[in-house]
């Protein structure tokens, strides 16, 4: 197994191995609930909480969970945190809870979370699992906010509900509808890939050590 420093554990999930933009995991919420910035933020924070809690628990119980039932045990742990997050959101921010609807419960099947348990938390110490979860969760939140900002600004002419363009703006409604999610994600990935290629071409000359390669 490749060894990494704690710093890399924390940082790689944020950008170099961003779960949504690089690994293309967790796309269901990234497409479905990013129609406003507030929804994206709430979904990002809820997922962050579930991921961090699950990683902590899975990593501390990793010697107790038999390999045969590990997936069931992970899902059980994840589902418990999701239910807690669901109830907490309903009690604290009922309007956002209403807007997110079934997608909070669907965090359970977000493969990004299960992926981190299987690939990292179940094989590493609690501290490193925590760093990894915080990094990945932050990366997910950043990706959600990127999607949400673009879609809300173009599709509704607002940012966090504040009108940006005045009454003359005709909202580009398709951007807050499901197709807008696909357009936004597609253009984000296109832009990132273009950026990444340009960077790789520039680095090709010195031929330095590509310590952090794209996992995808």
């Amino acid at each position: 197994m490749r060894t990494t420093t704690p710093r890399q554990d924390l940082l790689r999930g944020i950008w170099r191995e961003n779960p949504v933009l690089i690994h293309l995991l967790g796309l269901c919420p990234a497409l479905a609930v990013t129609n406003t910035v507030a929804n994206s933020l709430a979904m990002g924070i809820a997922t962050f909480f579930v991921l961090t809690g699950s990683s902590l628990l899975v990593s501390s119980l990793r010697r107790l969970i038999p390999a045969e039932v590990r997936i069931s045990a992970y899902i059980l742990i994840i589902a418990t945190f999701v239910t807690v997050a669901d109830m907490a959101l309903a009690a604290i921010v009922p309007d956002i809870h209403k807007a997110l609807g079934a997608f909070i419960a669907l965090i359970v099947v977000n493969c990004m979370i299960l992926g981190r348990q299987e690939a990292f938390a179940s094989k590493n110490t609690v501290g490193r699992a925590l760093l990894d979860a915080v990094g990945t969760g932050t990366g997910f939140l950043i990706a959600m906010l990127m999607m949400g900002s673009v879609r809300e600004v173009l599709g509704a002419g607002t940012f966090l509900g504040i009108s940006l363009f005045g009454a003359g703006f005709e909202p580009w409604v398709v951007m807050v509808l499901p197709p807008g999610g696909f357009f936004t994600l597609g253009f984000l990935l296109l832009g990132l890939s273009w950026f990444e290629r340009r960077r790789a071409r520039r680095q090709a000359v010195p031929g330095g050590a590509p310590a952090l390669r794209r996992a995808a």
Partner: protein, 224 residues
């Protein structure tokens, strides 16, 4: 939680090395399940009052809105097609339909707020509306719950040009294409791109009035 030597369901898959006793698999999942259940019950107990309070407040705001700011309102229960001030006894109490009767400060009846629902385009649409049996007019309409398409179907709650039409519309309501109305008092302009959602809202109100109309007419309307 489970006997260590219980045969169980045989947790390990097809061939695989059978290193772990089935009892241990059962104990692991059983124990984790019990712990998870206990945690969820705890969080539920902590959050339930706040969630219930939010729901009650949302309903209270909606009743106030569709009755155009009553000084006070009474909760009535629909029992066997008649309005009663007391909830029906026994197990039926929780599920029984409620109607809210609003009064002005001097005790004059404003009308009734009625919540009803029907399947819309995406999921069940829940609507509350005010109705005055004396004039036969709808006083106002508010969508309590809907999962209609953002940007299209959700105009039934966000488009004030649509929701405003219910203030003072005569029942039964008639949905018409925008601009195609003949000026009849019960006409409501539908929404382009949200035909099914708008039609559902109109149907919910008409159906509820068909169902509860006799009970409302029979209600004395005085404060209990």
């Amino acid at each position: 939680m489970s006997a260590p030597h219980a045969p169980g369901q045989g947790g390990a898959g097809p061939p695989g090395p059978a290193r772990v006793a089935p009892g241990r698999l059962l104990a692991t999942l059983g124990g984790a399940g019990a712990a998870a259940g206990a945690l969820i019950v705890f969080v539920f107990t902590v959050t339930a009052p706040a969630i219930e309070a939010h729901r009650a407040r949302r309903l209270d705001e909606a009743v106030t809105e569709v009755l155009k700011g009553p000084a006070r309102y009474d909760t009535l229960y629909v029992v066997d097609g008649a309005l009663r001030a007391e909830p029906p006894a026994g197990a039926a109490a929780a599920g029984s339909e409620r109607v809210f009767r609003g009064h002005t400060a001097d005790g004059t009846r404003i009308g009734y707020a009625i919540a009803s629902q029907a399947p819309g385009f995406a999921d069940v649409i829940r609507v509350i509306f005010g109705y005055d049996p004396a004039s036969g007019q709808v006083l106002g309409m508010k969508v309590l719950e809907s999962k209609e398409t953002p940007g299209l179907g959700d105009k039934i709650e966000k488009d004030t040009a649509f929701t405003g039409q219910f203030d003072g519309a005569a029942s039964p309501l008639i949905g018409v294409k925008p601009g195609a109305g003949k000026g009849a008092p019960g006409e409501v302009d539908m929404i382009t791109g949200a035909t099914i959602s708008a039609r559902t809202v109109i149907r919910i109100i008409n159906d509820a009035l068909d169902r509860l109309g006799p009970a409302l007419a029979a209600d004395s309307g005085s404060a209990p």
